[in-house]
C-alpha cells in the first residue's frame, strides 16, 4: 500500500479553505442517523465528541476514568499557543507555522502544520467564549508569555493550570451534549479492540472496568483520541493510567504506526528519589522564562548551591545558546543537562540533576510577581521535595514526557484503516521530531473542534454504509479474542508483578532508547525486549478475577501492549540513522555535539505496518517535502 497523505493541491494558505469547500456535506436531518464513536475525553476527544454532537451526529464517547473531566490533559500546566499577535511583537500564522516546522526539526508535514497555525486563533476565541479564565492584564485583555523555541510571546495560560481550564471548557461543552442526549458517555470503559468490517472501522470492543463485562459497540466511524504512549518507559510525566492499548490494538488491525521513536524528553522534571517512584512530576517549561539553569563549573562540587560563588557557576544554556538562552527547545535543553551530568557536574544526592534558579528573577521582579506566575508550581515542588524554591534553587532532570509518534494519519486525520480517525497526542501528525511547548494543547483542540468535525463529515458524506450490528461475526470474534487475553493474563499465575516488569522495561528503554541512542545500544534493546516479553508471559502474576474492578489486571493488559510497542520504538530508532529533534543518534552529531540531520536519506515519515507479534513489521515511507520552510540545520545560538 502506498501512503497517500491526501494533501490538497494549491497554495498552502488556501489548502484548508479549498478542501473544506470541496467536502461532501451531510444533510442536517440525516446526521442523527449516523453513529460516531469517540474514544477518549482529553482535549482532543472531548472537543471532538462535543462538536460532533453539536452538529447533530449520534456520538458515543468512552474513557477509562470515572469522569471525562479527569483525562490526562487536565495536568497540562504551562499554556497554549496561538498566532493572535496580541502583544504586537511580530507574530503571525506564518511565524507560528515556521517555528513549529523548524522546532519539529523538519520531520512534520507542512500542510498540516500550516492548518494548525491557522486554526490556532479560533481555539482561543472558542475557549474564552466557553468561560475559560485565561490570565488577563489590568486592562482586561488577555495576557501572553513565552515558551521554548519561540522569540515571540504567543502562549495563553491560566495560571499553571492551563490544561485543566481548557479541558474543563471542553468538558462543559461535552456535558451539554450529554444532557441533550446527543452524546452517550461511557466512563470506566476500556477499549480493547477495534472492529473492522469490509475494510472499514465499524466499532470497538470494550471492557467495563467495574463489572468486567466485555461489550461491543457498532458505529459508522471511530475516532481515537487516547493520548500518548510515554508510559512504555514506566517513569514519565504522564498520568499513571495513560496507556497505549487503544492505538496498539488498532495498529494490529491495520493502522500504521508512524515515527514511534520520536519521544520527547522534558528537561524540567523533579528528579527520581527511589524505587518506589510511580511517576515523575513536570515543572512547567514556563519556569524557564524566569529561572536560570546552571551547574557548578567544577566536577564533583558538592557544596550547597548558595555557597557556590557566581564565577564558579556554569549557566551552560546561556553560554552555549546566547540567542535563546534558557528557552532553547526541549530536546536541546534535555541533552545539555545529560551532558553536564555525564561530565560529573550534576547536583543533588544522585548527581542526576541540574539547578533551575529563581534568585535573580526574585531580585528583579520581587517575590510577589514570581508567586503570582508560578505559585502553584512552587508549592507542588515543595510538597514533593520538602525544599522551598523561593530560598534554594530547584533541582530538575529530564524525563519522558510526550510522544510525537503515533498512528499515521493523512491530512484528514484518517488512519490507514478507512473510517478510523486519530486525534491529539495519539496521532503523529504535527510535531515532527520534537514538539514545542504549548503546542500539544493547541493541536488537541484544533483536531477536535475544527478539523475532525469537517473531515469525519466528509467521510460520512462520501461513503455508503451497510447496516452493521454487534451481532456481526467480526464483533463476536473480537469479543472472544479480548476475553481470551484476559483469561490468559489471569492464568499465568507467575511470580512477578506488572509494576516490576514495567519498571524493567522502562530501564531498558531509558538506557538504550532514551536521550542518546546508538546502533549498539538499540541492537541490545532489540534483544532484551523480546526476552522480557517472553518472561512476562511466563512470570506475570495478576491478582483477583476478570469479573470485578481489577486494577492489577488493567495494568498487566497495558504492559502486554507496551512490550510489543517498545520493540517497534527501538526498531524505528535503529532504522533512523540520523539525529533529529528528540531522536539523538550518537553516530550522527556535529563536532560541537549538536544533532545532525540527514535530509538526503531520512526526510520521510516512517510508517510501520503490523505483520504479527513475532514477525518483523514492514516499513512504508511517506516522503516529506519542504517548500516553504527551507531545510536548514536548526540553530538556537
Amino acid at each position: 500500500m502506498t501512503l497517500d497523505a491526501k494533501i490538497p493541491v494549491g497554495p498552502i494558505q488556501e489548502k484548508w479553505d479549498k478542501h473544506r469547500f470541496n467536502m461532501k456535506l451531510v444533510n442536517p436531518a440525516n446526521k442523527r442517523k449516523y453513529t460516531i464513536i469517540v474514544v477518549g475525553t482529553g482535549l482532543a476527544g472531548a472537543s471532538a465528541a462535543a462538536s460532533l454532537g453539536e452538529l447533530g451526529y449520534n456520538v458515543q464517547n468512552f474513557c477509562i476514568q470515572d469522569s471525562p473531566r479527569r483525562a490526562h490533559s487536565i495536568a497540562a500546566q504551562g499554556g497554549i499557543n496561538a498566532a493572535k499577535n496580541y502583544p504586537n511583537d511580530g507574530d503571525s500564522v506564518w511565524r507560528l507555522f515556521y517555528d513549529t516546522v523548524k522546532g519539529g526539526d523538519y520531520r512534520s508535514r507542512e500542510a498540516n502544520v500550516y492548518r494548525l497555525a491557522q486554526v490556532s486563533n479560533n481555539i482561543i476565541d472558542q475557549c474564552v467564549a466557553q468561560g475559560v479564565p485565561f490570565a488577563r492584564e489590568y486592562g482586561g485583555l488577555l495576557s501572553n508569555r513565552s515558551f521554548g523555541g519561540a522569540q515571540v510571546s504567543r502562549t495563553f495560560y491560566a495560571r499553571g493550570q492551563t490544561g485543566q481550564q481548557l479541558l474543563l471548557g471542553a468538558y462543559s461543552s461535552l456535558s451539554r451534549q450529554i444532557k441533550e442526549k446527543k452524546v452517550a458517555m461511557f466512563t470506566r470503559h476500556e477499549m480493547l479492540d477495534l472492529v473492522v468490517i469490509d475494510g472499514k472501522a465499524r466499532g470497538i470492543v470494550t471492557r467495563n472496568l467495574i463489572t468486567g463485562k466485555i461489550e461491543s459497540f457498532a458505529a459508522d466511524a471511530v475516532l481515537l483520541a487516547t493520548g500518548g504512549y510515554g508510559n512504555v518507559y514506566y517513569l514519565s510525566t504522564n498520568a499513571v493510567n495513560s496507556n497505549a492499548t487503544a492505538v496498539w490494538r488498532a495498529h494490529k488491525r491495520g493502522a500504521y504506526f508512524a515515527n514511534p521513536c520520536f519521544v520527547q524528553i522534558h528537561p524540567t522534571c523533579i528528579p527520581v528519589t527511589g524505587d518506589h517512584q510511580s511517576k515523575l512530576t513536570l515543572m512547567s517549561e514556563s519556569l524557564r522564562n524566569d529561572g536560570r539553569v546552571w551547574v557548578p563549573k567544577a566536577k564533583g562540587d558538592k557544596r550547597p548551591a548558595n555557597e557556590i560563588p557566581e564565577e564558579e557557576r556554569d549557566y551552560y544554556l546561556e553560554r552555549r545558546y546566547p540567542a535563546f538562552g534558557n528557552l532553547v527547545p526541549r530536546d536541546i535543553a534535555s541533552r545539555a543537562a545529560k551532558q553536564v551530568c555525564d561530565e560529573g557536574r550534576g547536583v543533588g544526592k544522585t548527581g542526576l540533576a541540574v539547578y533551575l534558579d529563581f534568585a535573580d528573577a526574585i531580585k528583579r521582579l520581587g517575590r510577589k510577581a514570581i508567586e503570582e506566575k508560578y505559585g502553584n508550581l512552587f508549592e507542588m515542588y515543595e510538597r514533593i521535595t520538602d525544599e522551598n524554591p523561593y530560598n534554594v534553587p530547584m533541582r530538575i532532570f529530564p524525563a519522558i514526557h510526550y510522544t510525537m509518534g503515533g498512528l499515521w494519519v493523512d491530512y484528514n486525520l484518517q488512519s490507514t484503516v478507512p473510517g478510523l480517525f486519530v486525534l491529539g497526542e495519539a496521532n503523529f501528525s504535527d510535531h515532527g521530531a520534537n514538539r514545542l511547548g504549548a503546542s500539544a494543547l493547541m493541536q488537541g483542540l484544533a483536531d477536535g473542534y475544527f478539523v475532525a468535525p469537517y473531515t469525519v463529515g466528509n467521510y460520512i458524506g462520501s461513503n455508503k454504509f451497510e447496516p452493521v450490528t454487534t451481532d456481526h461475526p467480526a464483533f463476536k470474534a473480537s469479543e472472544k479474542e479480548v476475553d481470551d487475553l484476559v483469561k490468559k493474563l489471569l492464568a499465568v499465575n507467575g511470580t512477578k508483578t506488572a509494576h516490576e516488569l514495567n519498571r524493567e522495561l522502562g530501564l531498558i528503554m531509558w538506557e538504550y532508547v532514551g536521550m542518546g541512542r546508538s546502533e549498539e545500544g538499540l541492537k541490545k534493546a532489540l534483544e532484551e525486549i523480546p526476552k522480557l516479553r517472553e518472561e512476562f508471559w511466563k512470570s506475570i502474576k495478576v491478582a483477583g478475577t476478570g469479573e470485578t474492578l481489577n486494577q492489577n489486571l488493567e495494568e498487566a493488559g497495558r504492559l502486554a501492549d507496551y512490550l510489543e510497542l517498545a520493540e517497534l520504538i527501538a526498531r524505528d530508532a535503529l532504522n533512523r540513522r540520523e539525529s533529529c529533534g528528540g531522536h539523538f543518534r550518537e553516530e550522527s552529531q556535529t563536532p560541537e555535539g549538536e544533532a545532525k540531520r540527514d535530509d538526503e536519506n531520512y526526510s520521510y515519515v516512517a510508517a510501520w505496518e503490523f505483520k504479527g507479534t513475532e514477525e518483523a513489521p514492514e516499513l512504508h515511507k511517506e516522503s516529506l517535502t519542504f517548500e516553504h520552510v527551507p531545510l536548514t540545520q536548526r540553530s538556537y545560538k
Binding site: A50, H72, D125, A129, G131, S172, R176
Partner: protein, 258 residues
C-alpha cells in the same frame, strides 16, 4: 530545617484499611503491617508497595483511584485518619508524602462516605453525581465556531482572577466527604460562581443556578448548614464565599423567573 526527610530513617506503620467487595457487600476494616516506608514516598506509593506485597503473597490488592498523581485530576481521594485527603492543608492524597507521618503510627484509610457516592470497591467510589450536576447547567451554550475574537470582550482582571479561583476546583469530592451533611454545595457553587463572575455566563445565569441546585438535591446530597468543613478539606482552597454567591444567584433567579 529539622528532620530533612532524606535523613529520616524508614518507618514501620500499622494500616487499617476499609475493604469492601462491591456496592452491595458489607465492608470492614482490615489491618496490615507496612514496613520500610521511606519518608520520601507519596501516600499512594506506600499503598502501591502494599499492593505489590499483597499480589505476590496471593492476597487481594486494595482498590483505590488515582491518575495524574499531581493533585490536578481529582481522581484520588481517601479519608485518612478521619480527614479527607489526610492531614496536610491544601494537599490531595496523591501529593501527601509519608514525611507527614511518624514511625509506629496507626493510619486508618477509608473511602469518601456519602449517600450520593456509593462505594464501588474498597476505597473507590462512584462520583458520577458530580458529572450530572455539571450537565444540569455548568456550561455556556456556545457551539464550536460560534465565538467572536477573544479580546473583543475585556474582563476585569479582578473578576477574572476570582473566576479562576473558583474554576480551580478539581471535582475530587473531598468537600462532600468532609461535610457532616454530605453537601455538594462547595463543588456546585464553584462552577456557578465561575460563570456568574464572567460576562459569558450571564445569559444563562438563572437557569444555571436553579438547575444545578435542583440536580444537587436530586442526587441526594445534603443541605449546607455553613459548617465550613468543606473549605478546610478542599485541596484547592476553594472559598466558602462561593456558596454564598450561589445562594444569592439562586434567590435572584427564583425571584425573577416564574
Amino acid at each position: 530545617m529539622m528532620n530533612k526527610t532524606s535523613e529520616r530513617p524508614n518507618m514501620h506503620l500499622h494500616l487499617k484499611i476499609w475493604r469492601q467487595l462491591n456496592a452491595a457487600a458489607p465492608g470492614k476494616f482490615v489491618s496490615y503491617e507496612k514496613e520500610n516506608v521511606s519518608p520520601d514516598m507519596s501516600f499512594l506509593e506506600m499503598l502501591d508497595e502494599l499492593n505489590e506485597h499483597l499480589i505476590k503473597t496471593g492476597g487481594d490488592p486494595v482498590a483505590f483511584d488515582s491518575d495524574c498523581r499531581e493533585g490536578i485530576c481529582g481522581m484520588c481521594g481517601l479519608v485518612i485518619n478521619g480527614q479527607a485527603h489526610g492531614p496536610r492543608r491544601a494537599t490531595t492524597t496523591c501529593q501527601l508524602h509519608m514525611r507527614s507521618f511518624n514511625d509506629g503510627d496507626t493510619i486508618t484509610i477509608e473511602p469518601w462516605r456519602a449517600k450520593a457516592f456509593p462505594v464501588v470497591r474498597d476505597l473507590v467510589v462512584d462520583r458520577s453525581a458530580f458529572d450530572r450536576i455539571i450537565q444540569a447547567g455548568g456550561y455556556v451554550s456556545v457551539n464550536a465556531g460560534n465565538a467572536q475574537d477573544a479580546n473583543a470582550l475585556p474582563i476585569s482582571k479582578y473578576n477574572s482572577d476570582l473566576a479562576m479561583d473558583a474554576a480551580s476546583c478539581i471535582g475530587c469530592g473531598a468537600c462532600v466527604a468532609a461535610c457532616p451533611n454530605a453537601s455538594a454545595s462547595l463543588f456546585t457553587s464553584a462552577k456557578v460562581s465561575q460563570l456568574a463572575l464572567l460576562p459569558q455566563g450571564l445569559v444563562e445565569r438563572k437557569e444555571r443556578a436553579i438547575n444545578m441546585v435542583s440536580q444537587m438535591d436530586l442526587e441526594g446530597f445534603g443541605d449546607c448548614s455553613n459548617y465550613g468543613e468543606c473549605e478546610a478539606a478542599c485541596p484547592k482552597e476553594i472559598s466558602i464565599s462561593n456558596i454564598a454567591r450561589m445562594k444569592r444567584e439562586y434567590v435572584r433567579a427564583a425571584l425573577t423567573s416564574a
